[in-house]
């Protein structure tokens, strides 16, 4: 609420609907807050020491004697880092205007926080990122060569690109895949080549959306995906946060059990081999066997004929 006061003081005549739009606060909430303000001020709360609010017939809001709230409250560290990180991240995306208003805004915010040179954001530079973003914007159909790790093969597909986004440290292309006849997510760094087919796509079948968790777009567990139960030592507990687990159950001594839907066994093999003694596959038995077999296969390169 106090965030609005400086704006009202410097923009006399602003109306409640305008305030609601600018600050994305419900108009009724603003009205309630404005009703509250006249009771606020300084001791002894006599008429000359209270905040005066009046709303004119045409809806214009005016404030008097609120000089203590004339200037905005400073940014908290959480607000500061959110603004600065977002600014740097957007400037790191290919095609960003590094001399434009975002760059100058970021300089001003950083100066106010004393954070100049204190934050750097790298969102990775996948090779065809700019071309994919253009294709989404221009609704161009694409033919892509894509390496599927799960199936250990290179595939060529025709796709209708809907969205390019970055989550969990990687760039993804959400698109309708004509080979699969379904919406698919492709990791941009596994796309070996991109070619426009010349066709224009009607409208994205994958909803562009303006809210919602980008992370949720990344992996949609299917009902018939294998559910694997892993017991994680404290060292590996970060897995519970970074992967789309279905359940997380804390156990004694900092361990944690998770149920993870797995669509490609190769993924499970790589995950467990990478974590080593920090993870135990509890169930199902076939998952334990798959992992042990993978470890044996890799070991046989080092100890052939053992």
């Amino acid at each position: 609420m106090l965030a609005l006061v400086p704006w009202i003081l410097t923009h006399p005549g602003v109306t409640i609907p305008e305030l609601a739009a600018r600050f994305e606060i419900d108009a009724r909430e603003i009205e309630r807050d404005l009703e509250l303000l006249p009771m606020c001020g300084l001791p002894p709360y006599t008429a000359d020491r209270l905040i005066d609010v009046w709303v004119a017939d045409d809806g214009a809001v005016s404030l008097r004697l609120a000089e203590y709230f004339e200037r905005p409250l400073r940014l908290t560290p959480a607000e500061g880092i959110a603004l600065v990180a977002a600014g740097h991240a957007l400037l790191a995306v290919p095609g960003a205007d590094r001399e434009g208003p975002l760059a100058s805004a970021l300089d001003k915010v950083e100066d106010a926080l004393g954070a100049r040179g204190g934050v750097a954001v790298d969102v990775g530079d996948a090779r065809d990122l700019a071309q994919l973003q253009e294709a989404v914007a221009a609704r161009q159909q694409l033919e892509i060569e894509y390496y599927s790790f799960a199936r250990d093969e290179m595939t060529t597909r025709v796709v209708d690109p809907a969205r390019v986004f970055h989550a969990f440290g990687e760039w993804y292309l959400a698109a309708y895949c004509h080979s699969a006849q379904a919406d698919r997510l492709f990791r941009v760094d596994r796309i070996r080549s991109v070619r426009a087919t010349g066709e224009v796509v009607e409208a994205p079948s994958v909803p562009a959306g303006t809210d919602g968790d980008l992370g949720e777009l990344v992996y949609q567990p299917q009902p018939d995906d294998l559910r694997v139960t892993l017991r994680l030592e404290p060292d590996a507990a970060w897995v519970a946060e970074n992967l789309p687990t279905e359940s997380v159950t804390p156990r004694a001594r900092g361990r944690v059990d998770v149920v993870l839907p797995v669509s490609a066994l190769g993924f499970l093999e790589r995950l467990v081999l990478g974590l080593g003694p920090a993870v135990e596959v509890l169930a199902p038995p076939e998952a334990r066997e798959v992992v042990a077999a993978a470890a044996a296969r890799v070991l046989s390169r080092y100890e052939p004929g053992r």
Binding site: L2, R22, F23, E24, L36, L37, M39, G41, L42, P43, Y68, F69, P72, L73, R74, L75, T76, P77, E79, G80, I81, A82, L83, A85, A86, A89, P101, L102, S104, A105, L106, K108, V109, A112, G117, G118, V119, A120, R163, F165, H166, F168, G169, D189, R192, G209, T210, L214, R270, L273, G274, P277, V291, A292, A294, R297, V298, L299, R301, Y302
Partner: protein, 309 residues
């Protein structure tokens, strides 16, 4: 509920208005709606209000003042409270609006921050990127801006860091700076800090001029860490060779074999990151040298082939 909001606004105004710190008794005399008269209830109510204000970013300072007989005195120093006028233009505000809607710091307070800067100018962007965030990040960022030494446990060892910056790379946040004990630059993954860090006083050190925090994290995640680097040779099968070369660059290739396999050479400091990377290639890669890294991988795998645990 509204009583409390009123009191919070009045408390803020009173603490800003005063020229000297005020004791709780003095505040209780002045504020409306009044605090409870019973002493401990009054203290509890005030402490709650103070916490709420602090959570909002209102910097209530506590000072012991002689004139108050040893009682703590409270006020808000105007310089601490107010945002200096940034002089943001409408275009700049619109650009920030696009930035915080295009890029979301998970659990972040970008929207609140933008409200303080004058609200949501222009149109929102379609979400483009999500950055991981960890609970320690805002306080570490604060330590960077205020130049506070940070102490924390990392891989079981106590560390003391002069933080020069926070860096987001490979999907994770790192705090970088100078390790006071080792007297050397270091980078630490924020989500691997064990427990809650402790922060020292502000202005405790001087950052080197023109520090680039990204430099502290060399390009390869395999190369940050404490141990001496070793040169590793890895044989990668034809089926994965193209990918590995794409990922690491042509310069790492030391040999190309007739069957399409390649031998690559890597500078390794972080052994566990290296092991994770090699094992990610499953049976399509083999550590050729040095013997210590090869042995490390074999021991690791042997531990995994015993299914019954």
């Amino acid at each position: 509920m509204t009583d409390r909001v009123e009191r919070l606004v009045n408390l803020t105004a009173t603490l800003l208005d005063t020229r000297r710190p005020l004791s709780l008794e003095e505040l209780a005399e002045r504020l409306e709606p009044a605090y409870p008269t019973e002493k401990s209830a009054r203290r509890r109510a005030f402490e709650r209000d103070k916490e709420t204000l602090r959570d909002l970013g209102v910097p209530v300072t506590v000072e012991t003042v002689d004139g108050l007989g040893g009682e703590p005195g409270y006020r808000i120093r105007p310089d601490d409270y107010y945002l200096p006028d940034l002089g943001l233009t409408a275009d700049e505000r619109a650009a920030l609006h696009v930035a915080i809607t295009a890029v979301r710091l998970v659990g972040g307070a970008g929207r609140e921050g933008l409200r303080k800067l004058g609200g949501f100018e222009g149109t929102a962007a379609v979400p483009l990127a999500e950055l991981e965030a960890t609970p320690a990040l805002p306080d570490l960022f604060d330590a960077v801006t205020k130049r506070r030494v940070v102490s924390f446990e990392y891989r079981g060892e106590p560390r003391r860091l002069e933080p020069y910056g926070v860096v987001h790379r490979f999907g994770h946040w790192y705090v970088v700076g100078r390790d006071q004990e080792r007297q050397a630059p270091r980078a630490f993954r924020v989500d691997r800090i064990e427990g809650a860090p402790a922060y020292g006083d502000a202005a405790a050190f001087v950052s080197p001029p023109d520090v680039d925090p990204a430099e502290y994290l060399r390009a390869d995640p395999l190369t940050y860490g404490d141990e001496q680097p070793v040169q590793a040779q890895v044989l990668v099968d034809a089926s994965r060779a193209a990918w590995v070369v794409d990922e690491l660059g042509e310069a790492v290739v030391t040999e190309r074999r007739a069957d399409g396999a390649v031998v690559v050479e890597l500078s390794v400091v972080n052994r566990s990151a290296f092991r994770t990377w090699v094992l990610g290639l499953l049976e399509h890669a083999e550590v050729l040298a040095p013997e210590e890294l090869r042995r490390d991988v074999v021991e690791w795998l042997r531990g995994l082939t015993g299914v019954a645990r």
